[in-house]
Amino acid sequence: MLILLWFLWDASSAYWYEFGISQLWAAEWYPYESLYGLLPAIIGTVWAMLIAMLIAVPCGLAAAIVSSEILPVSWQGWIRLGMEMLAGIPSVVYGLIGLWVLLPWLQYTLDLLTGHNLLAAGMILSLMILPTMMVMSQDALRLIPIEQREAAMNMGMNWNQRLMRVLLPQAWTGIRSGILLGLGRALGETMAVMLVVGSLDRVPDPIYNILEPAQTLTSRIGREMGEAAFGSMHFSALMACGLVLAVTAICLSLLAQQKRSFV
């Protein structure tokens, strides 16, 4: 991890020495005018992640609960197989599906000029991380011994109580790992997001407007790295985007490691 951070720091150091940390909240990104503000991409990344998590966490958890606690065992294998196959599909395929199905649908349904926007990016990301979250949550629920379920039943706890007080708290470690893995994938996903987000380097106006084209850190790196000359300031600025991504991922992991009380 330290080597990775050192590498990113070394490659982006020219950018940080030249412009300083204030670029984190600078809103202009015009490489040809030497403006390298990271704020639009940071805001775009945060929105895409938030939307993805808001959709994927409840859906993934609900799917895991239904599949492991309600459906017959014979169905569970098929659902798991389906989810594992979904998790293995290359991200560009999700991007193409987004281009083909999601963008026209959003454009038509919400009466927009274009379907390329942060909502589309978040929705595609949620679809991509849903299988991971569901499979990991399902594993965590299955690991809870049957005796725990029966003990709760023997105490007259109803289904909701068993779920909220016995199953979810005990499965929380596994669920948290699923959320973290999903978050990591959402944070780092490039291709699918690049195809649907619109790649417009502008802070959404107003800032909560998720229905206009935007940019994320990954889509910026993916789209512009081919154009940036190796060792140039543009190249260094793109490496700085990578450093911000890596530091954010590490911070999220550390935050999620905090202990949670049981009752």
């Binding site: 011994p145 105490m155 007259g156 109803n158």
Partner: protein
């Protein structure tokens, strides 16, 4: 009481508990699981107080019977009534029935919380928010665990030994103030001291409620006294007071079981 013709019940000398009004009554209970007949026309009753020991070889249907009593299995046929109320039409449903009829499993299952929180785990949110110290002390005392844990009530419950965890499960069940207690081999694989402590607390509890205790341990059934119900191959073979059952068994199957721990009742 409608008992199948093969069951032998002694009503005379020493079966004091049978003279008491019955609180739990099972009539012609049959259960089939995966096309296999597990219980066949089982009928008996538990008096309002006292211990009844349910004994028999493995696979006799003892644990299944307990699960029928709390509707953990719900595809049984027959009639089970508790306090004169059919358990099929229990007010508040199966969850309310399970609060009335406490069932303690063979393997202790403590929740990953403190000892204190485990005891109050089954209480309502409102009750849990109130100070439950006196209830926790009373239940742990009834389960013969208070002396050992009173100084560390907020330690994790899984730091207790298996015997202590089993007594904690008993305390947790008692916190719900059940009117009947069912125990499925509660002392299996426990050390002699834990066994002794649990038996002592069962004797105390049985003064106020009916207790049905499944056990493989014939000596334990003798120590628990009360009535003994002997089951084999899903059928009740013999019911008698403990002294009579062990000293003067009526049925050949019972004598075989007491002597060789096997039963051939086909």
């Amino acid at each position: 009481m409608n008992i199948n013709t093969n069951t032998h019940i002694k009503e005379e000398k020493g079966v004091e508990s049978c003279a008491l009004p019955s609180y739990v009554r099972l009539e012609n209970i049959s259960l089939t699981l995966s096309e296999k007949s597990i219980l066949k026309d089982v009928s008996f009753s538990l008096p309002a107080t006292g211990i009844s020991s349910l004994i028999g070889p493995s696979g006799a249907g003892k644990s299944s019977l307990l699960r029928c009593l709390t509707n953990l299995y719900d595809n049984w046929q027959g009639t089970i009534s508790v306090a004169g109320i059919n358990t099929r039409s229990w007010h508040g449903g199966d969850d309310a029935l399970r609060r009335h009829v406490g069932l303690i499993a063979q393997k202790p299952a403590v929740f990953p919380a403190s000892i204190y929180d485990n005891v109050i785990f089954g209480l309502s949110r409102k009750e849990r928010k109130q100070n439950q110290s006196s209830r926790v002390e009373r239940c742990l005392t009834q389960a013969a665990l208070w002396d050992e844990v009173q100084d560390r009530l907020h330690d994790p419950a899984n730091t207790l030994s298996v015997g202590q965890q089993q007594r904690l499960c008993l305390a947790r069940a008692l916190a719900l103030e059940p009117k009947v207690l069912l125990l499925d081999e509660p002392t299996a694989s426990l050390d002699p001291r834990s066994k002794q402590l649990i038996e002592a607390s069962l004797h105390d509890l049985a003064k106020d409620m009916p207790i049905l205790c499944v056990t493989h341990d014939l000596e334990q059934a003798q120590r628990l006294q009360g009535q003994v119900i002997f089951m084999c191959d899903g059928k009740v073979i013999e019911i008698a007071a403990a002294n009579d059952f062990f000293e003067h068994p009526e049925r050949l199957e019972t004598r075989e079981f007491l002597r060789w721990s096997v039963c051939d009742c086909d």
